[in-house]
Amino acid sequence: MSPTITTSSEANGNVSAATARAAAKAAATAELTGPQTITLAKALNTAMADAMHADPSVLVFGEDVGMLGGVFRITDGLTKTFGTSRCFDTPLAESGIVGMAVGMAMNGMRPVIEMQFDAFAYPAFEQIVSHVAKMHNRTKGAVKLPMVIRVPYAGGIGGVEHHCDSSEAYYAHTAGLKVFTPATVADGYRMLREAIDSDDPVMFMEPKKLYWSKDQVDLDALRAEHAANTERGTSSEGRAAVARPGTDATLIAYGPSVPTALAAAAAAAEEGRSLEVIDVRSIVPFDDETVCASVRKTGRAVVIAEAHGFASVASEIVARVQERCFHHLAAPIRRVTGFDVPYPAPKLEHYYLPGVDRILDAVDDLQWED
C-alpha cells in the first residue's frame, strides 16, 4: 500500500520496550475495556490517559483542563488520576501555554496542551509559527519538540463569536508542523496516541461538532494495535483512509466534513451513483498516494471542507490532485467549502457549512453527460 507509512522506530525507540507492558497496564487500570460505544471525546480522553500511564514525561496543561476537565471535558479525570503535576491549569494566556510547552519539550517532557477554542489560539500564533515549527530546523535536529497542541476547531455547534473558526490552513501552511484531524472515534484514539508519540510537533485539530459523535470501538484492540505499531516502528501517521469505497466519483474530506461526505455518498447511492469517500486524516504530511489512487480510479472529485475556500487546504488538495491526475480527470475538480466570509452567527451557520445538498449539486456538475 502507501509508502507514506512512517517508520518511526527511531522516534519511538526510547519507549518501545516498555510500551506493550504499559499498554497492558493502562488497559487494566482504565475504566473502559473491550468493544463498546463511546464518544470521540472519550476516545481522546482515553488516549491521553493511556499515554500518561505509559510515559511519565507526558504532561497535559491549558485553560480549565484541571479540575473542570476542559470546557469540552476532553481532559476529564486526568488531574484526579495523575495529580496536579501531570495535568494542570495555567494562567489564561495562550502564548504562555505554548511558549512554556516549548521549553518543557526542550527539557525532556512531552507536553499535550489544549487551546480552548480555535480562535483563542491566535495569541499563541507567534510561538507556534516562529518557534514550535522552527526549533528542529534552526538546531539542525539537535532540539526536537515532541509536543501536541490540541485545538477544538470548526463549526456546527452554534458557537457565538470566535468559537468556530476553521484555522487548519494557518498551521498547514507553516513548514515544520504536522497537522492531524480525526473524523472517527477510533481515529480519535489512534491519532492522538500517534501525535503524542511523534518527536515532531503536531497540531491536533479536533472537530468539536464530532466530540459527542458515538461509535462502537474496541479500545483493547486499539491499544494492542498501538503497542504493535510501536514495536514494529509503524503507524497510520500521514495516511488517508478510504471511508467508503465507490467507483463513480471521489469525495475528499477531513475532520468535521467526513460525516457530511459520507451522508452525501449514502444519498447518492440511493440515486444510483457510487461515491468513494476519502478521509484525509493527516493534512500534513499529506497522503497524495491514497487520494490520487482514488481519483485516478473514479476520474471525478469534489473536495469538501468547512474552511473558507480561498487559499485553503481544499485549494491545495485540488491543485495537488490536478497536477497528479490530470489525464484521468473527466471533469474539473470541484470544491464545496465555507464561503469567504467571517464565520457566521449561529442562526446563519447552516447557510455557510457544506451540506449534503451542496455536495450533491457539485457532484451533479462533474460533466456526467460526457
Partner: protein
C-alpha cells in the same frame, strides 16, 4: 523519572504562589512584602565609573537588598571575559564591514551585563539569550564561530542548545523568556535544582510574552531570573516611549516577585546582584527580575544610523561610564591586575578574535539538501519529492556547466 504530585498552581487559593516569596522574605530578611518585591530605592552600584569602590553605605543597598562583594577569583574571571567580550564585539563589527557576516548586533558597552549573565550560572543551569547576547553565549562556553553562524548567514543557528544549556538566540522579542520558563518548569517537576536566566531588553518589556513569562514563572513558582538589559533604546525608540513605570524592575511587584536595579556597567554589582538572585531562585524563592541600567554604545546593527535619533553628547556621557575601564582601574588599584596578567588576558582575547576572523573568513560550503533534512525528524513524501527536484535541477546545472566548459 519521578514527578512530584504537588504543584504550586493547584494548591488552594490562599496558598498560591504570592504567599511563598512574601512569607519567605518577611522571615528571611525581616522586611515587609512590599519592601522585598520593590527594588531598592537606588540602583545597586559597587564600583563607580572612576573605578573606585563605593563606601558600603553608598552602594544603594538597604535592608533585604544587601549584597556582598564577589571573590577575587570571580572578579578576575569576569574581567578576563569583559576584555574578551569587547574584543569579540569589535572584531565582529569589523567582519560585518568587511562583508564576512550579514549582520552583527553589538553589545559594545554592555559587556558587563553579558559576562555577569553567563558567570552567575552553574553548569546545570540554562541561559536564554537574545540576538544581542552573543558575548554572553560565548562566555557560557559556546564555540565562538558556532555562535556567529546565525549572523554569518549559512543557517539560522549554529550550536546545539543542550550542549552548553544555552537556548538558541531569538529575535522575536521575549518569546525566549517563555522557553526558559518551560525549561525551569520541567526541571522543577523532576526535582532538579536548575536555575534559568532569561534575558531581554528594555523595549522587549512592552511585549505580551514578557508579561506572560513573568506571570507564569510567578504562578508556578519557578526558579527563573529575568534579566533586563535596559540599554535605553529599542532600535531608535527611547525607553520613555516604552514604559512610564518608575523603573522596569518595579514591574516585578505586579507579578508577586522581587525586583532589583543594578548599574549595568558595573560588573562587580552585576555579579553580586545576579549571583544573589540565582542563589535565591535555587533556594526556592520563585522568580526574580533584575534590571541593569546600561547603554548601547553603537547603532542597533550595521543597518541602523544612530545619529538620526540620539546626540553624540549622550553617547559621550556613557563613554565615561565604560564597564571595562572602570574594572581595569579597580582591579589595578586593588593590586589584582598587573601588566603580566593584563597581557595574558589581552592575548586570550586576541586568540578568540583570531578564531573568529579565521572561522568566519573561511568559505563554508552550504549544503542545499539541508533545506529538506531538518524540517521533520523524518522527511514527508512531499519534502522527499522537492528534495529530488532540487537535486535534479542542480545535477542538470552541473551537467550544462560541464558541457559549456567542454566546448
Amino acid at each position: 523519572m519521578t514527578i512530584s504530585a504537588d504543584h504550586a498552581a493547584q494548591r488552594p487559593a490562599q496558598q498560591v504562589a504570592q504567599q511563598d516569596p512574601a512569607s519567605d522574605a518577611v522571615s528571611k530578611f525581616g522586611i515587609t512584602v512590599e519592601d522585598y518585591m520593590l527594588p531598592a530605592r537606588h540602583q545597586i552600584q559597587m564600583v563607580g565609573p572612576d573605578g573606585t569602590l563605593n563606601p558600603h553605605t553608598e552602594q544603594g543597598t538597604q535592608p533585604g537588598h544587601e549584597y556582598s562583594l564577589p571573590s577575587e577569583a570571580e572578579l578576575l574571571a569576569a574581567y578576563e571575559q569583559l576584555v574578551v567580550g569587547r574584543r569579540v564585539n569589535d572584531q565582529n563589527s569589523a567582519l560585518v564591514r568587511q562583508g564576512r557576516m550579514a549582520v552583527y548586533p553589538s553589545s559594545h558597552g554592555q559587556e558587563a551585563c553579558q559576562v555577569a549573565a553567563a558567570l552567575c550560572l552553574a553548569e546545570g543551569d540554562w541561559l536564554f539569550p537574545t540576538y544581542r547576547d552573543s558575548v554572553a553565549v560565548m562566555a557560557r562556553g559556546v564555540d565562538p564561530v558556532q555562535t556567529m553562524t546565525l549572523f554569518r548567514g549559512d543557517w539560522h543557528g549554529g550550536y546545539d542548545p543542550a550542549k552548553n544549556k544555552v537556548g538558541i538566540q531569538c529575535t522575536p522579542l521575549t518569546t525566549q523568556l517563555l522557553h526558559g520558563v518551560g525549561v525551569a518548569h520541567a526541571a522543577k517537576l523532576r526535582g532538579e535544582d536548575t536555575v534559568v536566566l532569561a534575558m531581554c531588553g528594555d523595549g522587549a518589556t512592552s511585549e505580551g510574552d514578557f508579561h506572560e513569562a513573568l506571570n507564569f514563572a510567578a504562578v508556578f513558582h519557578l526558579p527563573v531570573v529575568f534579566f533586563v538589559q535596559n540599554n535605553q533604546y529599542a532600535i531608535s525608540v527611547p525607553l520613555a516611549h516604552q514604559s512610564v513605570a518608575p523603573s522596569l524592575a518595579h514591574k516585578a511587584v505586579g507579578y508577586g516577585m522581587a525586583g532589583e536595579r543594578v548599574d549595568g556597567n558595573d560588573v562587580v554589582a552585576l555579579l553580586a546582584v545576579l549571583g544573589r538572585a540565582v542563589k535565591l531562585a535555587r533556594e526556592g524563592s520563585g522568580p526574580l527580575l533584575v534590571e541593569a541600567h546600561t547603554y548601547r554604545m553603537q547603532a542597533h546593527t550595521n543597518a541602523d544610523d544612530a545619529t538620526r535619533y540620539r546626540q553624540d553628547s549622550e553617547v559621550a556621557e556613557w563613554v565615561a561610564k565604560d564597564p571595562l575601564s572602570r574594572m581595569q582601574t579597580y582591579l589595578t588599584d586593588r593590586g589584582l591586575l598587573d601588566d603580566d596578567r593584563a597581557a595574558r588576558i589581552a592575548d586570550k582575547a586576541e586568540a578568540v578574535a583570531t578564531q573568529l576572523r579565521e572561522g568566519l573568513s573561511e568559505e563554508v560550503p552550504v549544503e542545499p539538501q539541508d533545506l529538506f533534512k531538518y524540517v521533520f525528524s523524518t522527511p514527508t513524501p512531499q519534502l522527499k519529492e522537492q528534495s529530488a527536484m532540487l537535486a535534479d535541477e542542480l545535477a542538470r546545472d552541473a551537467a550544462s556547466t560541464a558541457t559549456e566548459a567542454g566546448k
